[in-house]
């Protein structure tokens, strides 16, 4: 269910620490070369899931990054556009890599251990549970609409047809949210007696990684603001 202290994997808490440090750095750093280096690290993390996983994630992240680059270039200058695009790529890529390895249940347990208030913690964990459900509904809607003759391929002439995808998706998302709430409440989500599973204790590798991450963050921040 969860990795033990002797597991070769990092504990969920360590992964979330890494994500937090990474997100903090990406938001703080302005230097283009550092953001570019960060993007390479993120790319390597994504590639760790294999070529199929890398392609699947890039298919989602790359268009958004490209769009931000194009819009940024149009409104500002090329350097600002590149900075915005690299920052977005790092944020999305790091989140994707992290949440692919940490389940919503593990995230919820870590947040509870960190004494994050139940409201915001619920929004995050429910959101993580919701994403794969929405993705499968999106696939079903796309199939259903194409099977009734509506062309949804990414072509300029098909832009008007995308309403056939977006409106059912909106309705289904609302229905899914209702279903999710009912399913969770029907098994006592609001119970005050809730007792979460114990977190796996961090091992030596976890502590080493955490210390290394903080050291790298300190060096980068010193270079950015203190040098």
């Amino acid at each position: 269910m969860t990795p033990s202290a002797s597991s070769p994997r990092l504990t969920p808490a360590t992964r979330l620490v890494l994500l937090s440090v990474g997100v903090g750095l990406v938001l703080a750093v302005q230097t283009l070369s550092v953001l570019a280096a960060g993007s390479i690290v993120v790319l390597a993390l994504l590639a760790a899931s294999g070529p199929a996983g890398l392609l699947r994630r890039l298919r989602l992240i790359a268009p958004m990054t490209g769009l931000v680059l194009a819009v940024g270039w149009g409104f500002f200058d090329v350097e600002t556009a590149a900075r915005l695009a690299l920052r977005l790529f790092c944020l999305l890529g790091a989140s994707a890599a992290c949440f692919a390895a940490v389940s919503p249940e593990e995230t919820g347990t870590v947040l509870a251990a960190l004494r994050v208030p139940r409201g915001p913690a619920f929004v995050l964990t429910a959101g993580l549970r919701y994403v794969p459900l929405v993705r499968s509904r999106l696939q079903a809607i796309r199939d259903a609409q194409q099977a009734r003759g509506i062309d949804l391929r990414p072509r300029v002439r098909n832009v008007g047809n995308w309403m056939a995808l977006l409106l059912p998706l909106l309705v289904q998302s609302l229905l899914l949210a209702d279903d999710l709430a009912l399913a969770m409440e029907s098994r006592g989500f609001a119970s005050r007696r809730r007792r979460l599973r114990p977190l796996p204790r961090p091992g030596a590798r976890d502590w080493a990684v955490r210390v290394a991450a903080l050291a790298v963050a300190s060096i980068v921040l010193y270079g950015e603001f203190g040098g």
Partner: protein, 489 residues
């Protein structure tokens, strides 16, 4: 015997909606096994949401009267103090399973009960063993077959060991292998002292285990009878089970319209279809049957190029479909998937049908009026599709696909969520389409419906065509109430 569940003069209206229950009086005794039937919209599922307080605390709406669960009034007790007393298995297992693994799914309720981690682990193991799903514990629910998902959903409730278990259509979509398993699980639970309430549309051997039969109509109990051997006869007498017209005499098969030739496919490296071959002919109704997870849905997606095969081909009137966009192929092969809500995006039934009328090849085909007549939609034309009943939605969804005037119509689980009247109407429509020359492919677990519509069955088993011929030659458990709840023939 003391009542586990008492409903006194219960009426209920959904937020912004009409009345779903009206002055419902009902006692469910401890240790009883009640089966609830009724047409779509009769209030069966609404009733199932009452005992653990989802209505009114989560769903909202206006609840009148009193619902008492083991002495607790649901107006003053919220779901978090009722969930361990009255467990609810939802109609759609996909809507119930939200965790990353089956193990996490089973742990969710147990952790909310405040049990120690060791007890949680023991309960998960015991429940998984009882239901025979130990090998699924570390799988993600969305990788399971429909039958496995149903078992996981039941396990997620049984793990909490509630004394009352309500199951909303537990046999829906189950094949002849899984349905008897579920029937047997319910029998054992009841023998162990659980109070069971099963809401269903389907008959089956499980009715013999029931101690009580309730038939709902317009939000109240219209008829009450003992369960057991006479239950099925009683349900037929009050038109709760479909009675199909006999199939017309067979005509000679028309020209070949669509041919699947040695089609193979994989999903994430796992082989799903293995050299599947069969052909569809004009005017012929073919039923594609197979166990949960046999590859039926994957095969359907390949018929108009929604997925790419790893080998073999699909040929439409002799021409391969490779490289042709699905939306263009849909003008010749219309597919109506299981969930009508995936299709609807306009404000009226008329507009939904017109989407197809505007996209079809020019020259011929049924007009709006004829389609409405065929599906009896005249009175619904200006209504929003999302506001219709399940049966009406299904008719609109098929009509919208048929508006493209396809030569082949594929219906994926058309009887899902349909009551007896809806199934009878669907069977009649399929008969008329066949008579008009449309090749129809029915993808279904409902063997009774398949037998009522089709003389030719193609059986898919673990991705291969196991048999192709008349139902009697297919090797499925035919006979009265076969399979414990599904596909009585």
């Amino acid at each position: 015997m003391a009542a586990d569940l008492e409903l006194e003069q219960v009426s209920y209206a959904y937020p912004g909606g009409g009345r779903a229950l009206a002055e419902l009086d009902l006692d469910i005794e401890a240790g009883s096994y009640a089966v609830v039937f009724g047409p779509n919209g009769s209030g069966k599922s609404t009733f199932a949401y009452l005992p653990n307080g989802l209505i009114p605390h989560v769903v909202g709406g206006v609840l009148g009267g009193r619902v008492t669960v083991r002495g607790r009034d649901t107006r003053t007790h919220r779901p978090d103090s009722l969930f361990h007393l009255a467990g609810l298995v939802f109609q759609d297992p996909e809507a119930q399973l939200f965790s990353s693994t089956v193990r996490d799914e089973l742990a969710f309720g147990l952790e909310n009960m405040g049990l120690a981690p060791g007890v949680v682990a023991d309960r998960i193991r015991a429940t998984a063993d009882r239901l025979g799903i130990g090998h699924l514990l570390d799988r993600s629910p969305d990788t399971l077959s429909g039958g496995e998902q149903r078992l996981a959903a039941i396990a997620s409730v049984l793990a909490m060991d509630p004394p009352i278990v309500l199951l909303d259509e537990p046999f829906a979509g189950l094949d002849w292998g899984f349905a008897p398993r579920v029937a047997s699980i319910l029998r054992e639970l009841n023998r162990a002292g659980k109070t069971l309430v099963v809401v269903e549309h389907r008959a089956g051997d499980y009715l013999r285990d029931a101690t009580r039969l309730l038939v709902f109509g317009r939000g109240r109990v219209d008829l009450e009878a003992p369960g057991g051997r006479d239950a099925e006869r009683m349900l037929k007498a009050c038109r709760m089970l479909p009675e199909y017209a006999p199939l017309p005499a067979p005509d000679a098969a028309g020209d070949e319209v669509l041919a699947v030739q040695a089609l193979s496919a994989s999903i994430e490296g796992r082989p799903v279809l293995d050299r599947v071959s069969f052909a569809l002919h004009a005017g012929e109704v073919t039923a594609l049957v197979g166990e949960n997870g046999a590859g039926k849905s994957t095969l359907v997606r390949h018929l108009i190029g929604l997925a790419a095969p790893s080998g073999g081909s699909v040929r439409l009137r002799g021409r391969g479909i490779t490289g042709r966009p699905p939306a263009e192929l849909a003008r010749q092969v219309g597919i109506c998937f299981q969930n009508p809500n995936d299709q609807f995006f306009t404000a009226s039934v008329r507009a939904e049908i017109e989407v197809g009328l505007h996209r079809r090849h020019p020259g011929g085909g049924r007009g709006l009026e004829e389609i409405c007549r065929l599906f009896d939609l005249g009175a619904l034309l200006d209504r929003p599709p999302h506001g219709l009943s399940a049966g009406e939605k299904k008719r609109v969804a098929i009509a919208a696909v048929l508006a493209l005037n396809p030569a082949v119509l594929v219906l994926d689980e058309p009887t899902a969520g349909q009551d007896a009247a809806g199934k009878e109407r669907l069977a009649a429509v399929i008969g008329r389409l066949s008579a008009a020359g449309t090749a129809v492919l029915l993808v279904t677990h409902d063997l009774e419906f398949a037998a009522a519509c089709s003389r030719r069955w193609v059986r898919l088993h673990r991705g291969r065509v196991m048999a192709d011929g008349p139902p009697q030659a297919i090797g499925l458990p035919l006979g009265p109430s076969a399979a414990g709840g599904e596909g009585a023939l």
